[in-house]
């Protein structure tokens, strides 16, 4: 679902209050009512057939308590939980923080920086599968581009990135950040551009420059948006299958599997579908509160700058 991250976040800088609360109910009559219903029916059908039914099906499949006992006994499941927490926690926060800092860099009015921005957003347009594969080959070891460059430039024997759990996890995180940081940078850049200039001018009169200006002016204005984006991104990254599957392939020996990939391997490689569904469904107690928090923030807070 990672590409969903791309644009959904385009929403946040806006007051989400308006659109979700129509101007007031109006009673539709006759053919208008029929047409309105007819317009809504296709989506209602999609929602019932492809959201409600699969979700209910998943709950039913994963309903047996014995499945969870089986999961807890499985050390590779517990490791995947730890990996998911590390992957999501580190990748999302690093990415968001770097995006926030870099959006400040791209605010500088220089022609070459403008041109650099066009190059910088390339990873976002590149297809996920292909860019993950490229990362895989870059880090494959001695013949890979990274180790080769380390040897040529510094005379260091590069490590075998996918033979060590922590290096492999780090590689996944780096590939993930490479792919998704540009998008969030653009979001923060758009938000920064909306901060009124006189806010900075008055801060300057009060003697705030550089880092202090960031701490006392920029960040408070962006904080709400930053939190919202981080929440959204966390939700989607929990379900990120492609990065882990195609960069480290869960290796070495399954040491970097996350919930999404281990659920897949239980279901399709271990031919135990119910266990696979139970594995991913075990994340629900964490995901549901996150979604509720997100919806409340979307509904109650003015995110407008």
């Amino acid at each position: 679902m990672s590409s969903a991250q791309q644009v959904l976040a385009a929403g946040p800088p806006v007051s989400v209050k308006g659109p979700w609360r129509p101007l007031g109910p109006r009673h539709l009559h006759g053919s208008d009512f029929t047409w309105a219903i007819a317009f809504v029916v296709p989506y209602a059908a999609v929602f019932l057939a492809f959201v409600v039914y699969p979700f209910g099906y998943a709950l039913w499949m994963a309903g047996k308590p014995s499945l969870y006992a089986e999961l807890i006994d499985d050390s590779s499941y517990l490791r995947s939980v730890v990996n998911t927490l590390l992957f999501v926690g580190l990748a999302v926060n690093l990415k968001m923080f770097l995006a926030l800092v870099l959006s400040g860099f791209f605010m500088r009015r220089r022609r070459w920086i403008r041109a650099l921005l066009a190059v910088f957003v390339l990873p976002w347009v590149l297809a996920t599968v292909q860019s993950c594969i490229s990362f895989h080959w870059m880090l494959i070891g001695e013949p890979g581009l990274v180790d080769r460059l380390l040897w040529e430039a510094l005379g260091i024997d590069g490590p075998l990135w996918f033979n060590d759990r922590w290096l492999a996890l780090g590689s996944n995180i780096v590939a993930y950040i490479w792919k998704w940081m540009p998008f969030w940078t653009v979001i923060f850049l758009a938000a920064r551009m909306k901060i009124p200039r006189d806010l900075y001018d008055s801060a300057e009169i009060d003697g705030a420059t550089g880092a202090r200006r960031f701490i006392h002016v920029t960040f408070p204005v962006l904080a709400n948006l930053y939190l919202l984006c981080t929440l959204l991104s966390t939700l989607w990254t929990v379900g990120d299958f492609t990065t882990v599957y195609l960069v480290s392939n869960g290796g070495p020996a399954g040491a970097t599997e996350v919930l999404a990939t281990i659920g897949f391997s239980y279901a399709f490689e271990g031919s135990n579908p119910t266990l696979g569904v139970a594995a991913v469904m075990s994340a629900l107690p964490v995901l549901i509160p996150l979604v509720i928090l997100l919806m409340r923030r979307l509904q109650t807070s003015e995110v407008r700058l």
């Binding site: 659109p19 129509p22 309105a36 296709p42 070459w112 909306k194 991913v280 995901l287 979604v291």
Partner: protein, 293 residues
């Protein structure tokens, strides 16, 4: 910073500026390398003349750049890529239909809820957001079973249905946001002139919403284009897509990687082209949704 000179303040300021400029130039170079390295790696492998071990000989520069890899893809001579154009066609079919259906279904629902003000309609658009409570990757097993019961085993339509399902909630959110900047007076005036609901949708709503529609079209295409999991699970190997072939073989060093990477480069072109064509609308859609009007 410890320069003691006649005009320390001015000096310090100048020094500071030089440091800032040097710093941002260095950051610029780092970002350039960071952004381009994986893309460079793709070309490095794709431009290699021979298939086999050569691509991974640890070259930093292609020793004898050649377009052999691209030729082998286009003529479908490369191993594993015998069906490249068929798979490319499948990817294109899935991508374009996901795009079309997302735009159609989402705009109809959004029109009924936000413009015709269907009472209780907002329940549906709110429920749509709940879709994102479960990451798509988590529902692959139920989907696999359900598509079977719908009679869509090994059907491109199964993949399209899955992509449309996960693209629509964002599309509706985006359309609702954008529509809130279009005055209702326009609709009302048309209604007084005797326009039907369908005519308002076609003649007023759709033309005014073009930027938002462009954003969701690009978004839906990228969603389908980026997917691996759903296409790999729901489609049979003989009827798969470009993503799946590449994803399945990615650890196989014996595959003809020059051709594989050439195929990857060809594959990333369509969405890039679409984004380029629609860039004006996409920028307008994103910034208008930002509340500037």
């Amino acid at each position: 910073m410890s320069i003691a000179a006649p005009h320390p303040a001015r000096r310090r300021r100048r020094l500071r500026r030089v440091i800032t400029e040097a710093g941002s130039a260095m950051l610029g170079i780092v970002l350039l390398i960071w952004s381009l390295a994986p893309i460079y790696q793709m070309f490095l492998i794709a431009l290699d003349p021979e298939e086999g071990e050569v691509e991974f000989d640890g070259n930093i520069w292609p020793p004898e750049p050649s377009l052999e890899g691209f030729r082998a893809v286009v003529t479908q001579e490369a191993r594993y890529l015998e069906d490249f154009w068929h798979q490319f066609g499948n990817s294109l079919f899935i991508g374009l239909l996901t795009m079309f259906l997302t735009v159609l279904i989402a705009s109809l629902a959004s029109f009924a809820v936000s413009r015709m003000r269907l009472s209780r309609g907002s329940l549906l658009t709110n429920a749509a957001l709940l879709t994102y409570a479960i990451p798509a990757a988590f529902l692959i097993v139920p989907y696999y079973r359900i598509m079977h019961s719908y009679g869509l085993t090994d059907s491109l339509w199964a993949v399209i249905a899955a992509h449309v399902t996960f693209a629509i909630p964002f599309a509706i959110l985006m359309l609702q946001l954008y529509a809130s900047f279009i005055p209702f007076e326009l609709d009302d005036a048309a209604r007084i002139d005797g326009a039907s609901a369908v005519q308002v949708y076609r003649r007023i709503y759709l033309p005014l919403m073009v930027p938002a529609l462009a954003v969701i079209a690009v978004y839906a295409l990228l969603l389908a284009w980026n997917d691996y999991l759903y296409q790999a699970v729901l489609l049979a190997p003989r009827n798969s897509t470009v993503s799946v072939t590449q994803g399945l073989l990615f650890t196989d060093t014996d595959a003809p990687w020059n051709a594989m990477m050439a195929a990857a480069i060809i594959y990333v072109l369509p969405p890039t082209a679409l984004l380029f064509v629609l860039r004006r609308y996409v920028v307008a859609g994103l910034t208008l949704a930002d509340g500037e009007r």
